[in-house]
């Protein structure tokens, strides 16, 4: 971002980047204040949203950094927040319940030490689910968010076979009273959207907002912006991508996972 050569477009980009980093910076400072508004209706923007008529662009790549040192084993706030916000419904049968995000308990077999890690769609740069989907319903948006276009999903579940993280759920039953922001119905596959509607409105994902009130283990931001909170944190914290050996380049990374 430092070299500001080239035409107007470049300059515009830089200005946007500046605005965003300013927004992210403000979010860092204001985070406790912002969370006061969370779920209370009119939420403040945590960062500069793009204008509604502008499509998502590859100038950004949204990602999450999960600091396991701050994630406690008993806490389930991110899961509850996601469930509340996106309204994935409890079917009464755990094995067919959709689950966009889950807390996985990790036990080191040698030391017996237990830790906990939230696992959701890892929003890979090369998502296997997108590669295998026959109709293209499984898709990656320009800004790196991996979504299911339920309009063309035929419910073949090949994406669920292909996903290395078990991030997708199939809807086994009729649903009713879906959330406006998350239309969801029987016979299609769904998974974490990184709260794409919130991001487009300049808000952080529901899990991140909820976590900020608890341990603050979740950091959200633009991986392509070196000034963003997540990029700065990534430079400081030793972090890992799950199943990095597969080379799918997840947008979700885990710090202090040893």
């Amino acid at each position: 971002m430092s070299s500001c050569s080239g035409g107007d477009e470049k300059a515009g980009m830089d200005r946007r980047g500046l605005l965003q980093s300013a927004g992210a910076f403000a979010a860092t400072i204001l985070a406790p204040g912002v969370t006061l508004y969370a779920f209370g209706g009119g939420e403040a923007e945590a960062f500069q949203a793009r204008p509604p008529e502008e499509p998502a662009s590859s100038r950004q790549r949204w990602g999450l950094l999960i600091d396991l040192n701050k994630c406690s084993t008993g806490c389930n706030a991110c899961v509850t927040a996601c469930k509340d916000y996106n309204g994935w419904q409890d079917t009464g049968r755990a094995d067919i319940d959709p689950q966009w995000i889950r807390k996985v308990t990790l036990k080191d077999p040698q030391t017996g030490v237990e830790r906990s890690a939230p696992v959701m769609c890892q929003h890979c740069a090369s998502p296997p689910c997108v590669d295998v989907c026959p109709t293209g319903a499984s898709m990656k948006r320009a800004d790196g968010i991996v979504l299911v276009n339920k309009h063309v999903c035929i419910g073949c579940r090949y994406c669920m076979m292909a996903c290395p993280y078990k991030a997708r759920s199939f809807i086994h039953e009729d649903e009713s009273d879906q959330k406006v922001n998350n239309p969801s119905g029987k016979g299609t596959v769904e998974g974490c959207t990184l709260c794409v509607d919130r991001i487009d409105a300049g808000q952080r994902p529901a899990c991140v907002e909820a976590c900020a009130k608890e341990g603050g283990a979740l950091i959200f931001g633009d991986l392509k912006d070196p000034q963003s909170e997540i990029s700065q944190a990534l430079r400081k914290l030793p972090s890992k991508k799950l199943r990095a050996d597969l080379g799918v380049d997840p947008g979700v990374q885990y710090a202090n996972l040893t």
């Binding site: 079917t91 308990t105 296997p128 109709t135 759920s169 199943r243």
Partner: protein, 418 residues
């Protein structure tokens, strides 16, 4: 060589109609099951968010793999110019189409949104092996139909070049098709149990066994219906030889698959699960696929008794090959999913979403009915074809004791001609 004579199926015996009726009942039950699954949602099946492909997929993949193998006999006759197989080429072609239709029907009816089939056929993601397979399957049907036409039309069948070209096209296409089917599993990087290139050749070898077993059984069945021995003694020994070779190939490739995965430390756990600790999966693998599905029929074919009981032995062996095939598909498809994904290597994991746990699965009745109906759909299509057009060869008439009136000389002569 004398003109080969073909016949239509004209049988109206009670056994024939009972069989047709049985198939119709199974198809009706399967369609009702599909409707039930679609209206209620997949929660009425044994499938879950951990086991996403179940019994319908076992049958569907089994039938699709069998379909490409059923074309074998036709390929042997026109690609490898073995005249002895020529009388069975038509039957082999139509059986391939029937089995594929049966398998695809099951696959489509199990979709979460079968009503969106049109979407599946108009919206493609060309990076998906599934999407390639849609082309491979429809292309296979078109090519085999053209191939059948070239065999059955009086004028075109005399054009050796056309027949040969279509024969080669169909043969190459079926190899690619089975490669595609095997790669549906082989390309799953995250699924340790199946990831790897060996899945494609393994599926091709399996297809040769299943397809030929289906062909043999249909021939034996039709021999009863036409009161002629369609499967001559000469062909029995040829089919026997082929089945032995194909089955040994399957065993060999299965061994490679597992030994290579046992050798590599990261996949040792999943192999221990499938081969030793996984409950129903080791049972189906060793007892179903290996023993019942390969070793036993190999022994039966290897030490085949003399005289006309050979025919029954071949039939029984074919049934066993098919049972073994179903067991093999069950282990491949469900065993793979039953074993937990390794997301955090080196940790003991647990969660509310089945992490680190072996995923249970028990097939539900609707799933089984839907799966079985695939076989019945295939058999009904084949039967209808047999009645409409001359697909069946003329065989040797059977005497009152059910013994074929087969002169030994003719066998030897035909063998020499081949």
């Amino acid at each position: 060589m004398a003109q080969i004579k073909f016949q239509q199926l004209t049988s109206a015996s009670p056994t024939f109609w009972m069989l047709v009726l049985a198939h119709v009942v199974i198809v009706a039950a399967g369609l009702s099951a599909a409707l039930y699954m679609e209206t209620n949602g997949h929660h009425v099946t044994g499938m879950t968010n951990q086991i996403v492909w179940g019994t319908p997929h076992v049958f569907a993949v089994f039938l699709i793999v069998s379909a490409s193998g059923a074309l074998n006999v036709a390929s042997v006759s026109s690609v490898f110019s073995r005249l002895a197989y020529k009388p069975f080429a038509r039957l082999s072609g139509i059986l391939a189409i029937s089995l594929l239709a049966g398998g695809l029907a099951v696959l489509v009816l199990d979709l979460g949104r079968p009503d969106r089939l049109l979407v599946a056929m108009t919206t493609y993601n060309f990076r998906s092996i599934f999407a390639w397979n849609i082309y491979l399957y429809t292309g296979f049907m078109a090519i085999v139909l053209a191939y059948l036409f070239s065999m059955m039309d009086r004028r075109v069948s005399k054009m050796t070049a056309v027949n040969k070209t279509l024969g080669w096209t169909a043969f190459s296409w079926r190899l690619i098709l089975t490669t595609g089917t095997g790669s549906i599993f082989g390309f799953l990087v995250a699924r340790d149990a199946v990831y790897g290139g060996v899945m494609a050749p393994l599926f091709i070898a399996s297809s040769l066994v299943y397809g030929l077993a289906f062909t043999v059984l249909v021939l034996l069945m039709m021999s009863i219906e036409t009161h002629e021995t369609l499967c001559t003694r000469e062909m029995i020994s040829k089919f026997r030889g082929l089945l032995i070779i194909f089955s040994l190939t399957v065993l060999f490739l299965t061994a490679i698959l597992h030994v290579s995965k046992i050798y590599a430390a990261p996949t040792r756990a999943v192999e221990a699960f499938i081969l030793r600790d996984g409950g129903v999966y080791p049972l189906l693998f060793w007892g179903g696929q290996v023993f019942l599905g390969n070793i036993l029929p190999l022994l039966m074919l290897g030490y085949m008794p003399r005289a006309h009981s050979k025919r029954n032995t071949l039939g029984l062996a074919s049934i066993l090959f098919l049972v073994g095939g179903l067991a093999q598909m069950y282990v491949v498809i469900l065993g793979t999913q039953a074993f937990p994904l390794n997301i955090f290597p080196g940790y003991e994991v647990s969660s509310t979403f089945g992490d680190g746990a072996f995923n249970p699965y028990s097939p539900s009745l609707p799933e089984i009915l839907l799966g079985l109906s695939g076989i019945s759909i295939a058999m009904l299509i084949a039967t209808a074809a047999f009645r409409l057009l001359p697909f069946l060869p003329h065989g040797v008439p059977v005497d009152a004791h059910g013994v074929a009136q087969e002169p030994e000389e003719e066998v030897a002569e035909a063998g020499a001609a081949a």
